[in-house]
């Protein structure tokens, strides 16, 4: 009989990360200085790993609204929206959001994650959901909770989506269909191809829903998100947003036709069996909405910052991939190197997030940075400087800056850009085409001794060939090796660590399969 807890005890990755000092998660923030800087372990560092895009969480007006709400209604609603947990404030926020988003109705739900789970109530047994493969985990779970059939299409590959729609139209013509996609993809920062999605939806009679968690307050003239940005608000049936990003609060919203929203209010378990948003959360979201509507200059500043950072990174030789938004991913490649990079950033005074498989493809580990409209230029320049130093030290970027780079296109209102052309390195990595070097102990044990000997002899052959081809300049370089090693001595433990950790991770994964 196997023990349920066995998998927890035998889980290696965490122990490897802890033992090597590269564990990057659950960092406790001790102080916040206007959200752009925080104190961790007694040190003050610049925060570029938060989704507080407009910097409103530190805005005195928002704080004051929250305090007033606590004074008036207390700290919690102590119950579900359905029963005792609805305040007049909840209804006010719903009405204001419906108006802001140009929708018939809206429902606010306790967290963004639960908001997507609430979708499961409208996805019935005979419905088919078409979902982008890089959709946020909450969408994945929301769909999984439902009884509907899920068809995933390759990220932003609308030919693939059309194939799936066509198949569905042939095989299950009576099924209800809905296409669900992130508006702005949270890890790579690109925007969905909504115009084409809408076209396909109309051709095949499907509904469209966008998850605008990272788009609301950021994209579009008025900040209403992806559908406003593309001028397709009428064609997008359902819009989802969260309050934990631009809205400086906690919670989520679904907006759309009033009968759909009403159904969700009464049928979704994540709504009716969950305590409602706290008074403080509601009040701060309301105040943030007010500011979002009144101060478009914050959005403009945010996009300016995004452009500055993208181009700053690119000029140094970093790869920021397909992103056109204030989500600025920096390609590192190897996941252990990514952790080392993150740690070096942390020590130098920058808080950013390492993103590793399975959130991205193997070999495409990246450092995700995201910015606030309230970051100062000095802070941003400091972040760029630190990235450059570490990038050079870890050989992520060349020692001298490349002579040219392709400047980024930012998703400003009216431009309709969806993504930047990915570099070949980025494209290959993000599709998972990576040469996997090395082999695992397990593979080695399965090889016949002939194969092992063959590999060994091939290695000898290679060495002999290299030795036979040594040129005077190669010999000079060999002579300089000790010097180079000495210069790079600080980096050697890191490299050994990387190789060692990779070896263990590789062999750890083999056990499970």
């Amino acid at each position: 009989m196997s023990d349920v807890f066995e998998k927890c005890r035998s889980w290696k990755d965490y122990r490897i990360a802890k033992a090597t000092g590269l564990y990057p998660y659950y960092r406790a923030i001790e102080e916040s200085y206007g959200a752009t800087e925080v104190q961790i372990e007694g040190r003050r560092i610049i925060m570029v790993g938060s989704n507080n895009y407009l910097g409103l969480s530190a805005d005195p007006r928002v704080k004051e609204a929250a305090i007033k709400a606590v004074e008036r209604y207390g700290t919690t609603c102590s119950g579900s929206r359905l029963l005792n947990g609805t305040l007049a404030l909840h209804e006010e926020l719903e009405q204001r959001l419906a108006k802001f988003l140009n929708r018939e109705a809206a429902v606010v739900i306790s967290t963004g994650f639960q908001t997507n789970l609430a979708l499961s109530s409208i996805l019935g047994r005979h419905d088919i959901v078409f979902a982008d493969r890089q959709n946020h985990a909450s969408l994945v779970d929301g769909i999984r909770l439902s009884f509907a059939t899920e068809r995933k299409f390759r990220h932003n590959d609308l030919e693939h989506l059309e194939q799936l729609l066509q198949q569905a139209a042939e095989k299950e013509p009576k099924a209800g269909k809905i296409i669900i996609t992130d508006g702005v993809f949270s890890m790579e920062g690109d925007v969905c191809n909504l115009p084409r999605i809408v076209e396909l939806a109309q051709k095949y009679g499907a509904r469209v829903m966008t998850d605008d968690a990272h788009a609301m307050g950021v994209l579009g003239e008025k900040g209403r998100g992806t559908s406003e940005y593309f001028g397709l608000e009428k064609e997008t049936d359902l819009v989802m947003g969260t309050f934990s990003k631009s809205f400086a609060s906690l919670g989520g919203v679904l907006a759309g036709p009033s009968d759909v929203i009403n159904y969700i209010r009464h049928k979704s378990r994540s709504v009716i069996f969950s305590a409602s948003m706290t008074p403080a959360s509601i009040a701060s979201a309301l105040k943030a909405l007010e500011i979002i509507e009144a101060e478009p200059q914050r959005r403009a500043r945010l996009l300016d910052i995004a452009e500055k950072m993208h181009n700053g990174f690119r000029a140094m030789g970093f790869d920021t991939g397909v992103s056109v938004t204030p989500v600025v991913p920096v390609h590192i490649g190897d996941q252990v190197k990514c952790f080392r990079f993150w740690k070096a950033l942390h020590e130098a005074g920058v808080f950013a997030n390492p993103v590793i498989p399975p959130a991205v493809e193997a070999g495409h580990a990246l450092i995700r940075t995201s910015y606030m409209a309230t970051h100062t230029d000095e802070q941003l320049d400091r972040v760029l400087d630190i990235f450059e130093q570490i990038g050079k030290k870890m050989d992520v970027i060349p020692q001298t800056r490349p002579s040219t780079y392709t400047p980024v296109q930012i998703a400003r209102p009216g431009t309709m850009v969806r993504n930047n052309k990915a570099s070949e390195k980025w494209a290959a990595a993000s599709e998972g085409h990576n040469s996997h070097n090395g082999f695992t102990l397990d593979q080695l044990s399965r090889m016949s001794s002939r194969e092992v000997a063959g590999r060994l002899f091939d290695a000898v052959e290679t060495l002999t060939w290299r030795a036979a081809n040594l040129q005077p300049e190669d010999i000079r370089k060999l002579g300089q090796m000790p010097m180079k090693l000495w210069e790079k001595r600080a980096n050697i433990p890191g490299i050994l660590l990387e190789k060692g950790a990779n070896f263990f991770i590789r062999n750890g994964h083999e056990d499970r399969s």
Binding site: S435, A453, L456, F457, V460, E461, T462, T464, W465, A468, Q471
Partner: protein, 393 residues
């Protein structure tokens, strides 16, 4: 384009496409090994086949190692039947060639195939597909990867092994390629010249006369000043060959790479520079035919980790009795003035002095009558014929 491809597919003259053959691009290192080692099964029992050193081929296919990849692109394909490798081909995009020649052609190269026109067709179609996608309108080859590399398919002269840096192939390849709709683009000649007899007296007399009249001095290359010599030869090479069919000037990287390879083989006495008043005006490069030694290694420097191949190679190197005249050129303004005769003559005399039996002069263009006549007058006999094929895409 698609319609044209459709028509080609239904062309009744073409061999049928075998259903059990799978052609895939080379992706893994195992694929690369299969690509390189395919030659062993194709040439099994062929006494004239000289296998490349496997490592040399690996470097040749490695974008990080070979200078061609600084500007060009190559996709390698493998044909497999029931898991067994039965053919290979490289599709080559050489933008410098098209730029210099004003054409829009892609190349194929490194072609090897079992004697089965269907497999060949599957390979050619895959390569054509890749080249078409790049926007090329026709394909020429074999060419690995440019006219400065290994060129042409051997169609005459199968009875002797190939000289160093020339190609060799089974006699049936011509039929395979022609069955797939390729036609002749250009023939190249290789010449055999014996150094057991002294050069014809008439030629010697004329050469001496010109030497006096023009004030030509011929000196061996100075290996101690290798870089400067390479630079001099490079300028001459790029201007001497400029008007030739298919010529593309070599890039710095390509020339340095070639010079580095040659430096290991070259004997300075046989690398001659002709000068007039201290200005270099022509050069002739003859190298020992290292293929005799490479053949002894049979593709690998080591066996079971022991440097057996390397030892054989080094031993055989000392016994090389043949030469290959690789390059002979004169700068503009010194053509048709007999400078080449002087270089031929001095090379031949030097070869006799060093005790070589003879060697190959290759390659020359079939319609470069001036050069071909000069070689004939020295007593050269045409020994091999290579063909470059072409086909619209």
């Amino acid at each position: 384009m698609a319609a044209a491809a459709e028509m080609q597919n239904t062309d009744s003259k073409q061999p049928p496409l075998p259903s059990d053959v799978e052609v895939t691009p080379v992706r893994s290192s195992a694929d690369r090994t299969a690509f390189i080692r395919l030659t062993y099964s194709i040439y099994e029992g062929d006494p004239n086949f000289v296998p490349h050193l496997e490592m040399e081929r690996r470097d040749f296919m490695d974008p990080k190692k070979h200078p061609f990849f600084e500007f060009g692109e190559v996709e390698f394909f493998l044909a497999r039947r029931a898991g067994k490798t039965v053919g290979r081909i490289a599709a080559v995009s050489n933008p410098r060639y098209n730029e210099f020649q004003g054409t829009n052609v892609g190349f194929f190269g490194l072609f090897e195939c079992v004697n089965d026109a269907g497999v060949a067709r599957a390979l050619f179609e895959k390569a054509a597909e890749w080249l078409r996608a790049k926007g090329f309108t026709s394909v020429i080859g074999p060419m690995s990867y440019s006219t400065n590399g290994e060129v042409g398919l051997l169609i005459e002269g199968f009875n002797t092994p190939p000289a160093i840096m020339t190609t060799y192939n089974p006699s049936w390849y011509a039929a395979l390629i022609e069955a797939n709709g390729f036609t002749k683009a250009k023939d190249l000649y290789a010449w055999e010249l014996s150094s057991s007899t002294p050069p014809p007296e008439k030629v010697a007399r004329i050469a001496e006369k010109i030497r006096q009249r023009e004030g030509v001095t011929v000196r061996p290359v100075n290996l101690k000043d290798f870089d400067a010599e390479v630079a001099r030869v490079k300028t001459m090479y790029n201007s001497a060959w400029e008007k030739n069919w298919g010529f593309v000037p070599m890039t710095e990287g390509e020339f340095d790479h070639l010079a580095r390879d040659l430096k290991q083989m070259v004997r300075p006495e046989l690398a001659l520079v002709a000068e007039v008043k201290g200005e270099p005006v022509g050069f002739a490069l003859t190298i020992p035919d290292a293929n005799e030694a490479i053949k002894a290694a049979n593709g690998r420097l080591t066996t079971f980790g022991l440097p057996i191949g390397l030892a054989k190679l080094l031993l055989a190197t000392r016994r090389i009795r043949r030469l290959r005249l690789v390059l002979l050129g004169t700068v503009e303004g010194y053509r048709r003035r007999g400078l080449d005769a002087i270089l031929y003559l001095d090379t031949l005399n030097k070869a006799r002095e060093l005790g070589y039996e003879g060697g190959e002069i290759s390659w020359t263009l079939e319609d470069n009558h001036l050069v071909n006549r000069a070689i004939e007058s020295m007593g050269g006999k045409q020994s091999k014929r290579y063909r470059v094929y072409e086909k619209p895409l």
